[in-house]
Amino acid sequence: MTSLTLRPTIAPGAQRELKNHVPFSQLISNSLSMAGRGLIKVRRTPEQLFDVTLQPIIFTVMFTYIFGGAISGSVANYLPLIIPGILVQTVITTSVVTGVQLREDMDKGVFDRFKSLPIARIAPLAGALLADTLRYAIATTITFITGFIMGYRPAGGLGGIIGAALLVIACSWAISWIWAFFGMIGRSASSVQGISMMILFPLTFLSNAFVPANTMPSWLEWFVNINPVSYLVTAVRDLTNNGTVGYDALWALIGAIAVVAVFAPLTVRAYMRKV
């Protein structure tokens, strides 16, 4: 069966014209190819989709009915407060998977092949982060749809929703660099998961996502008010409920840029040391 009918057609190594650097256009196309691989993997392993499909539904329904009456008097009154909060919390939680998957991926045999190919070194990392924005988009869409089914009618209109969605996706992408960094330095996929969750929980719960900050003790209120996640939640509320863009959106974006500025070089350096 494995009858190869190859003829001597291979160009001798010494006669080839070769360059020792990768042009920028190749970096882009390599990264897109790697992102394409990420999307096939998402399609192939539906359990990877659970955290972006089921989790938003469960969290939205659960938190709304648990806290709704206590915090806002009724579920209907709570929806404008909770949906932006849940959205931010869910999408940021989704981004944790980036680091874990990257770690798993790098321990597999296929990474050896990527390393042996004449491609841009950074392409597997860039591709993974790029492909993950699709997962954030899915989580965002499902959270809004669940809220809508439960009776949420955002006053900001479609423009506000799209603006809020883009803001959340952009900020989550920025935060995914943090998890990617842990993915590089972590010993194993599960340790990466552990470290990331330890940071994620205080960051998302010690914010104004579920409960207004002024009901908390003053020391906690102080933290909640400086927590970048609170700025993002407030910005999303402004966009969805009023259709306005305030300083909170600006601060959220500045925070996102700062995170990328710090963690992208750190991650890339740790990554390059590995490949």
Binding site: T2, I10, A11, R16, G36, V110, R113, L117
Partner: protein, 381 residues
């Protein structure tokens, strides 16, 4: 289906110079993991267009050597050039000249066979259409067309290796590294793999393969390097190596272990070969040129009144190659890996001397045990 990527045909006029003659030139390669020197001064020269076999047991440093040559691991010492290009200074060029098929299939488990090949083709700069054509063609060549769309999880070991090899051939690299291409395959699949490798060489590729099997190196390789504890202990053509270890191997077990030195002396005289004593001290192993010589040996042993409980003549196995080349067996190796960490210091200095005094085959041939004091002492004690 026969035409691969439009590559210029092999021209008859080869440019002069070392980069055309040598696909791989490595000198004094060193890789340390903590205190353990996994590769300790390996020299390799692989002529363009040949198959070169690196033979050794588990943990000898074969995979580490290949990974360094393939730019997957940094060199801790020494230097290596692929077609004249330094692996440290020009890694991106080296990657354009090599294909690597790893010991553990380096393909994506979550993708189908076609998706894997299309991905690698796209990464290598082929257009979407070219990638699809190329993948279909390679799958056909490797008999994987029927399984093209199936998830890799259901692939057998042999199918996985074939896909892995197919992936290494997309860019038609002039040098292919095969790390234990048949380990864990059944005999039939193994023979198919050998056939594929032979076909590959007929296209003008150079192949550097590692193996634990003497017969595999014998079947495929033009030259062999035997590697042990991170150093090359012998190097040469298969014929040269075989003559150094004998075409067959004699094993005798003595009724009385006290007579072992006498027996050893007799074997040395009658077969003109150095017999190695087994760890428990009652068994002797010696290389043999002619099987019929065993009659002479038995006569002399009987005259001297040395009783045998067991006698066998076999084809030399990897174990015997090791016994005669290094003075210790493969199974010792496993036990010694544990000691390796503390021994690393002495081993390093001893082996450095070894590597320096071993530029070619001559030494290993003349004296099958280049470092007699250390390993043998261990066995006899």
């Amino acid at each position: 289906m026969t035409s691969l990527i439009s590559a210029p045909p092999l021209s008859s006029a080869q440019p002069a110079g070392s980069s055309a003659d040598w696909a791989v030139e490595a000198h004094g390669l060193v890789k340390t993991f903590g205190a353990h020197r996994a590769v300790d001064g390996v020299d390799l020269r692989v002529k363009t267009g040949t198959v070169y076999g690196v033979l050794g047991p588990n943990g000898a440093g074969k995979t580490t050597t290949i990974r360094m040559l393939a730019t997957l691991l940094k060199l801790d010492g020494g230097e290596a050039r692929i077609f004249g290009h330094d692996v440290r200074r020009e890694p991106q060029i080296v990657r354009q000249l090599i294909g690597v098929t790893g010991q553990y299939a380096s393909v994506d488990e979550n993708l189908s066979a076609t998706e894997n090949l299309v991905l690698f083709s796209r990464l290598l700069g082929l257009t979407r259409k070219q990638s699809k054509a190329k993948s279909a063609e390679l799958l056909e060549q490797f008999g994987l067309t029927e399984a093209a769309k199936r998830p890799l999880k259901n692939f057998s070991g042999g199918m996985r290796r074939r896909l892995d090899l197919a992936a290494s051939l997309i860019a038609q690299p002039p040098l292919i590294f095969l790390d234990e291409p048949t380990t864990g395959l059944d005999p039939r699949t193994r023979a198919q793999m050998w056939e594929t490798i032979r076909e590959l060489v007929s296209t003008g590729s150079t192949v550097l393969l590692t193996t634990q099997y003497l017969d595999e190196a014998d079947q495929l390789a033009d030259r062999i390097a035997v590697i042990d504890r991170g150093t090359v202990v012998a190097e040469g053509t298969t014929d040269e190596l075989k003559s150094s270890i004998g075409s067959s191997s004699l094993q005798v077990r003595l009724a009385d272990p006290k007579e072992v030195e006498d027996a050893r002396e007799i074997i040395g005289r009658v077969l003109s070969a150095t017999a190695v004593v087994s760890p428990e001290g009652s068994r002797l192993t010696a290389p043999m040129e002619h099987v019929s010589a065993v009659t002479d040996l038995l006569v002399v042993l009987r005259e001297r009144g040395i009783e045998l409980t067991e006698l066998s003549v076999q084809k030399p196995t990897l174990d015997e190659v090791f016994l005669s080349l290094t003075g210790h067996s493969v199974s010792d190796e496993v036990a010694e890996v544990a000691e390796a960490a503390q021994d690393a210091q002495d081993a390093a200095s001893a082996a450095a001397g070894d590597a320096a005094s071993q530029p070619g085959l001559a030494d290993a041939d003349a004296d099958p045990d280049p470092n007699p004091s250390t390993p043998k002492a261990k066995i006899l004690s």
